[in-house]
Symmetry: C2
DNA sequence: ACATTAATCTCGATG
DNA sequence: CATCGAGGTTAATGT
């Protein structure tokens, strides 16, 4: 066992009793717990899955999330969302980690036949991520300079609600016609065209003036099918990306 | 340092030189590498992000994926997809992990001011996940017993392609009318209705017989807005879920 | 490489 | 609680 500054504690090739003690202590202390070893994994909840024996890395977070990672992929092979209860016990010679929640009822069960590592990490992280280049940045760019869309475009509202959902930017063109703007931070396919079309139709029913409403899809680029759909539905496209920095 | 069976090796409170040696050795050996300590994280690529100092858990996978986890959330606060090159070096008294790829150009940089743990794990996992309760299971359930949709429904094709995309199930009803079926494994909103409508319209143009085509949305349930949209567009809904087991 | 869609999507905002 | 839409979505599949 290795301890340092009350912050991190690890066990190598622990016996199951020692591992159980450390993991329970870590969970109770609100620490982040990791395990590595050969295990089977079963999940039952929104779907059902089984995973035969293999070496995997398991992370139990203090917010109740659980992650099972293999050597491949950005996504965990199995997981449990935040809000779960973690528990460990030894059953039939296996070290079993269970993570459970209700609504929906879901259970993740990880049965280790051998454990080569257990770690407990005291995490303090008050920092928030600062992210730029999002759809919101694109919206701000347009509101700062509406002429980017077309000359004399006038934004009137953002997030204007319709029976079909909220319109990103609602405004008027140079001729006083209503304009519905849908923003996407990256290249778009047919789904985005469908979304814009829904908003235009819903707004038309709201205003009883469907023919006079223009729909503008704003994105860096569109796929061929999306372009065809736009043409079919009489919608327009403006190429614009979020600010670079 | 702790070694066992060539499989797992960990360092506690390592100095940066020893940590660098172990991490590089782990990466070269195709192992899964973990680090824990106080760090800053910067990302630049499809978007841009910065994250101030805090304690985080870092995982470097042999396929080139990188994950930075805080104490909260199922998702990593920063990451890099598979296919990246990982590198470590000591710069200005910080232990820096960089993960980079091209197309798109993306760089993730993690600068540790202190390291309390480094782990190297030899992963062997040939097992495939077996998952049930997916949309594909729902499709098989219907193909096994088409009457689940309605009496005398006859499936003719799956994944039938149209200019608007592939239709989940394409078939005929008791009266010989063409039926377009869109499947969803869980409760659906307006987007699924738009998707089904696109397919019906596209097939109508293909067959020059739009009026005679029925559209069926099959899901466990629909939201109110989706139900209204279905009614407006003359589409139908059948409540059905993927098989339980 | 691009296009399209599913996902135990996750996550946050909002009513 | 449910609903809705964004996401550096990711992952899989087809072309």
């Amino acid at each position: 066992m290795t301890t340092h500054g009350d912050a991190t504690e690890t066990l190598s090739d622990p016996d199951f009793d020692a591992a159980g003690d450390l993991v329970e202590r870590g969970i109770d202390a609100g620490a982040l717990v990791t395990l590595f070893g050969r295990c089977r994994v079963d999940y039952d909840g929104r779907a059902t899955s089984t995973l035969g024996p293999g070496d995997r890395h398991v992370m139990l977070k203090p917010d109740g999330a659980a992650l099972v990672h293999t050597d491949e992929g950005q996504q965990p092979v199995n997981w449990q969302p935040p809000g779960c209860e973690h528990a460990v016990r030894v059953v039939d010679g296996e070290f079993v980690v269970e993570s459970e929640r209700s609504s929906p009822d879901e259970l993740l069960s990880i049965a280790f036949e051998s454990l080569s590592h257990v770690g407990v990490f005291d995490v303090t992280d008050a920092t928030d991520l600062s992210l730029t280049g999002t759809e919101e940045d694109l919206r701000e760019r347009i509101l700062d300079d509406p002429d980017l869309l077309e000359p004399a475009f006038t934004p009137l509202a953002t997030e204007r609600s319709t029976p079909a959902g909220a319109i990103d930017i609602y405004g008027e063109d140079a001729d006083g016609r209503t304009v519905v703007v849908e923003l996407k931070r990256r290249r778009v396919g047919p789904d985005a065209v469908g979304q814009l079309d829904r908003y235009v139709q819903a707004l038309g029913r709201d205003l009883h003036d469907e023919a006079e409403i223009r729909g503008l899809l704003v994105a860096p680029s569109v796929t061929d099918r999306a372009r065809e759909l736009l043409a079919q539905k009489g919608l327009e496209f403006v190429s614009l990306a979020p600010p670079e920095e």
